[in-house]
Symmetry: D2
Subunit: 147 residues, 4 copies
């Protein structure tokens, strides 16, 4: 996978509050970067996530997250979080992430999150709403694997 596989990125800058005694981003904050990136992805794709949840009564619960740390990221570094929804299964969604220096093709970290669609009342897994799938496909095109 190359950076060119991502249609979307969100630019951020490392905060002093996020670095550790070695002057590099503490490992847990990568998941926060992914989360911010995912929120901005949804906005860019025109998906009104909170309204969708209200309407369908279905929310996604995070089931798994993976981070691969490739190079340390220093204080004040400007970077791009690349985000894509790679696959939507019956009741799950797989998001992929890469972090590169801003405007560069220089992999600093990669990762993925797997989420499960759940009925908010019963907390049981349910099929991903069709309206959601349509909106993601409209953004990702054929790169989205369905099923």
């Amino acid at each position: 996978m190359a950076r060119s596989d991502f249609k979307f990125h969100h630019t951020m800058r490392v905060r002093y509050a996020e670095i550790d005694a070695q002057g590099v981003v503490f490992n847990a904050h990568y998941l926060t970067y992914f989360d911010v990136g995912h929120t901005e992805y949804m906005r860019a794709a025109g998906i009104e996530y909170a309204a969708e949840v209200d309407e369908t009564g279905i929310d996604f619960h995070l089931a798994k997250s993976v981070v691969e740390y490739k190079q340390p990221i220093k204080f004040d570094k400007l970077f791009d979080v690349c985000v894509r929804v790679a696959r939507i299964g019956t009741s799950s969604m797989t998001n992929l992430f890469e972090i590169h220096g801003h405007g560069e093709d220089d992999l600093l970290a990669s990762g993925e999150t797997i989420l499960v669609a759940a009925n908010l009342a019963t907390h049981r897994p349910v099929p991903v709403p069709e309206s959601f799938v349509r909106q993601v496909r409209a953004f990702e095109g054929d790169a989205l694997i369905k099923g």
Copy 2:
């Protein structure tokens, strides 16, 4: 004010996630330490805070917080957060905090938070519930300033 003015303390240890590039606790985390200390204070005083809020419909909103940084606090340091409710006014509460090395009288930081009792429905300030004042006074005794 001396450490002996505090009836209560809660012991914590500095996490690696909380230190910055200088190897000392990042300034914002002191407020998290105060918050943890305050939760444990309420537990020690036998005040079931969440149940009180449910029953009275009155919650405290944080209006102001102050931290004075006396000495840097290093990674893995074991420390005591000393907490007391110092004053309850008509609709406000003032909490005082000190951080010392564990079991020591060696001031690392001090601070205060001022909270306002508010009706959860109207968000307007209301008198601090009498039941709450009684419970704090039972714990603090005459050290608590009322009014």
Copy 3:
């Protein structure tokens, strides 16, 4: 003091990781917002802070921070952190902060930080370097109180 007293602001957006069970920013994160704002202020003022420290052997230590919480700030809110250096004393610096909705004059929080210039070798307070004062004055003009 009105928003118009600030020459500089930095725009940020509330992260999901920063809100608490009430759906609003947890109190400690305001200090992180101030810190990010201060870093961006220094950049905007053309002050190369790290290089200054290397050259002079003098760094600023945070002595005190104050936050006044005026209105809760919700998830995804776009806001401006307004920052100014208000006063430089013999060996101290006072920074003022305000948080407003982005592009609005709607005070959500205010605060200040007081820092002390210290010799990195001896950890003793020293006069604020003249070069630093000059650069701040060039940015702030007569609004900066000296002494």
Copy 4:
């Protein structure tokens, strides 16, 4: 794998600062819990990590982290982070983690981290120091996979 496979656990309590708008621990903080657990594991195993690094000039860099979220963890929940070093390869170490309710066998989350031993001067992977392997084996016994 069952909880009984872990010789070590460290008890923690969920902070208010760590929960999100749904009242449960935000996903990134699990990695901080793992990190705290790992620090305490090293202490329990009698491994003076910082001194080892100073002596050998070899440190571990985090290469990968995985979290599997099984059940949400609520505010104020007392929980145990179970930690073990499961495998030491030529230049890598695999740590396993489980989070259970305190004193319970009720899996809330699991995960792993993979670290690589690196020469601090050259940043190149190097064999894991023999003294480190010996100390971990003394603590874990035959449960530790070597190679």
